[in-house]
């Protein structure tokens, strides 16, 4: 493998049902940053059936070049034809860096492709940067330190340790990247990219998965233990009806409503939603504690949450001892405003 032949930062532009997934734009944003010190271009790899219409938006979000693999076999995601398509692109165009979103699709595709092209892959990265490997040159072996390597950082052991990984001797350097971590650029209206159509050829074969049915389920009763965002209410919410404002917030942030024991005892919510020592233990990315005083019996069930946001009228409430962010005030005023602000921010992002 001649490493010198490999050039450019490539991004797998995931699309489903002819819609570009947000992760593709996030990766393009990051790819632009990585391309700068390497003095190279950003290439998006778009795989699907009748997807050429998506090129413009990819260009607006920072792709200098787009390689399109367009074939009826690629209508729905299936491991085999997609892996064949992406591996063929890599073998043909020899990228230095290949980024894939760590979505359900990307986590399936990335490792398959990396095995096919015989290179390293770091999964679920949260930080990517260009730097030296090893970071500090080993005395007496200074000449072996490689520059301009992709340093891929990811949480391991359930987030208890952070590992920075490099792939110095193989190309491309592949990473799947956690959605929501990287920043999109502000789209450049009317930007155009060079479009290359590439088709490695597909023969329908019996190794393909047959898709019988695609189910888009909306769960009506969410399990609070699986939720990434919990909007939790306590006695301070005041009534079953008033949980409406928490439900609105939960909808805005894509979360689920949970509650404290006091709420269950008052008959406002079912026991399934209770967080705490005698309820469920939860570890969401974000936990809103609204009108919850924060007795240890409750805190024991949620203190492992990544970020805790507390809203309570009593500034001495113990919940503030565990909260990362706290607001002292009337939840009836704050929660609707927060919901409105989040909705506005989301609307701005989606335009």
């Amino acid at each position: 493998m001649n490493l010198e032949e490999y050039k450019g930062v490539y991004v797998f532009a995931q699309q489903v049902d002819n819609k570009v997934d947000s992760i593709a734009y996030e990766l393009l944003g990051k790819a632009k940053e990585l391309a700068a010190p390497l003095n190279t271009q950003v290439t998006a790899v778009l795989i699907g059936s009748n997807v050429k219409n998506l090129c413009d938006s990819l260009a607006e979000y920072g792709a200098d070049r787009i390689i399109v693999v367009d074939d009826p076999e690629l209508k729905d995601y299936r491991t085999e034809p997609y892996a064949h398509a992406l591996a063929s692109v890599i073998n043909e165009y020899k990228p230095e860096i290949m980024l894939v979103g760590a979505t359900a699709i990307g986590r399936d595709l990335g490792p398959t492709v990396s095995a096919r092209v015989a290179t390293g892959l770091t999964a679920d990265c949260t930080v990517l940067e260009i730097g030296d490997f090893p970071l500090v040159a080993i005395p007496g072996k200074e000449s072996e330190q490689k520059h301009n390597q992709l340093l891929m950082t990811r949480p391991a052991f359930g987030g208890n340790t952070i590992a920075t990984i490099a792939c110095p001797n193989n190309r491309p350097q592949m990473a799947t990247v956690r959605p929501g971590v990287m920043q999109k650029i502000d789209p450049i209206k009317g930007a155009k990219a060079e479009i290359i159509e590439f088709n490695p050829g597909f023969t329908p074969n019996n190794k393909y998965v047959t898709i019988k049915e695609v189910v888009k389920a909306v769960k009506d009763v969410a399990d609070i233990m699986d939720a990434k965002v919990l909007v939790s209410g306590g006695r301070g919410v005041g009534s079953a009806e008033n949980f409406k404002i928490l439900e609105d917030l939960a909808e805005a942030v894509g979360g689920v409503v949970s509650c404290s024991r006091a709420v269950v005892d008052s008959g406002w919510k079912p026991k399934d939603l209770q967080v705490g020592q005698t309820g469920k233990t939860v570890r969401p990315n974000v936990y809103f504690a609204i009108g919850i005083s924060g007795a240890i019996q409750h805190v024991a069930g949620m203190e492992e949450s990544d970020v805790i946001i507390a809203i309570n009228k009593d500034e001495d409430a113990p919940i503030f001892d565990v909260a990362d962010y706290g607001v002292v005030g009337d939840l009836n005023k704050i929660v609707p405003q927060l919901t409105a602000a989040i909705k506005a921010e989301k609307a701005k992002k989606n335009n």
């Binding site: 006091a262 005083s293 007795a295 113990p318």
Partner: protein, 388 residues
């Protein structure tokens, strides 16, 4: 030193015993299984004056000494742990602090109804974050014009929801002590039915199942300014001193539970036959009973000594009885736990069956090691005094 009870005491004990056998024992298993507060028993206790035993006659009480009160709790506990704690929480934790710290107006307003049993009393100190560390109070009381506004909650309150008058401890501000900002804690009298004062969870307990244990919730609950009990900022001392007295009551309850279990077991081992003779004829039974009876007697002397000390205090407020109360409660509770456990064992398989009642005594005994200060708190009090 005289270890015999006076004639009056003996007569009082007989009265309590008869009442317990006739009125309390028949209900004991039913209220335990149904987790039901025995309102009918409380009404009868009121009728007999058993809810105002150590209360001076001028406030509508019986004007008896602490020893008499202790024997009442003890006799009830022999047959029913629930009934004994209703009396103890009412008398020691609600009536006693009003008598000790209340103004003349407060005493006149509240004590007669409480002593006659027309009203029942309770004590709200514990919070989810403030159990043994009672300084960790979160409930707040803020003076607004001529009313105190209470916000917060209390948990595990005995006689909760059933009681009419509550002593409630709350934070009224911050005070500087030795350069540290500490909470200023005060005590209040709060009546059931005050707007903003509601009841939350009813606890589902292992024992004393008929006792009503509730959460108290205060949401902008306004009470008159004159419902402050004692001086502002003295609430912690009031609570602690109240508990000293309450511990004698719980020690009496533990003592009664142990005695009740022992009496039942002595009857049982005489009747039960295995290997062709009563199990009372086996030396293991004899030795176990000997040990248990000796421990019960030791606990009893400690409980009665603490009662005597509190009686002395009533004529001489310089006397402290907190160490005696702590020792009595520690010993009696641990004896109760051991005695009831071994009594279940001596009953064999039947001891594990609800019908025989001794399993209930074992479940009831465990709480005496926990409430009104855990056994560990009693050890803190005792060692603190030893190492002064």
């Amino acid at each position: 030193m005289d270890f015999s009870l006076s004639k009056e005491h003996e007569m009082a004990r007989q009265l309590f015993k008869d009442f317990a056998e006739k009125e309390v024992k028949p209900l004991a298993q039913e209220i335990d299984e149904q987790h039901r507060f025995p309102r009918e028993t409380v009404d009868k206790l009121a009728k007999y004056g058993f809810l105002g035993i150590p209360v001076p006659k001028e406030y509508g009480g019986q004007g008896c000494d602490i020893q008499t009160y202790v024997m009442c709790v003890e006799e009830m506990a022999k047959v029913c742990g629930t009934t004994s704690v209703i009396i103890s929480a009412h008398t020691s934790l609600c009536v006693d602090p009003i008598l000790t710290y209340g103004t003349e107006e407060q005493k006149k307003k509240y004590v007669p109804d409480l002593a006659s049993g027309k009203k029942l009393g309770a004590f709200g100190l514990t919070e989810p974050g403030a159990g043994t560390d009672a300084q960790g109070q979160q409930t707040k009381a803020v003076l607004d014009g001529d009313e105190w506004v209470l916000n917060g909650s209390k948990c595990f309150i005995t006689n909760g929801k059933e009681a009419d008058v509550y002593i409630v401890i709350a934070v009224t501000g911050k005070v500087e002590k030795k350069g540290k900002m500490l909470k200023e804690i005060s005590a209040f009298i709060v009546e059931k039915g005050t707007p903003g004062f509601t009841f939350g969870t009813k606890e589902n307990k292992m024992g004393i199942c008929g006792s009503s244990t509730y959460e108290l919730i205060f949401t902008d609950c306004r009470i008159p300014k004159e419902n402050l009990l004692g001086q502002q900022g003295k609430g912690f001392a009031i609570a602690m001193h109240t508990l000293d007295g309450g511990r004698i009551g719980i020690a009496a309850q533990a003592l009664g539970l142990a005695e009740g279990a022992l009496e039942t077991t002595i009857e049982y081992v005489k009747e039960r036959k295995q290997f062709g003779r009563s199990i009372a004829q086996f030396q293991n039974t004899q030795f176990v009973l000997a040990d248990l009876a000796t421990k019960v007697e030791a606990a009893k002397l400690l409980v009665y000594k603490a009662a005597a000390k509190k009686d002395e205090y009533r004529t001489n407020p310089k006397i402290s009885y907190s160490v005696e109360a702590a020792q009595a409660k520690l010993m009696a509770a641990e004896v109760a736990m051991e005695v009831t456990t071994k009594c279940v064992q001596l009953h064999g398989g039947y001891g594990y069956i609800k019908e025989y009642g001794v399993e209930r005594m074992m479940r009831d005994a465990k709480i005496t090691e926990i409430y009104e200060g855990t056994s560990e708190v009693q050890r803190m009090v005792i060692s603190g005094a030893l190492l002064k």
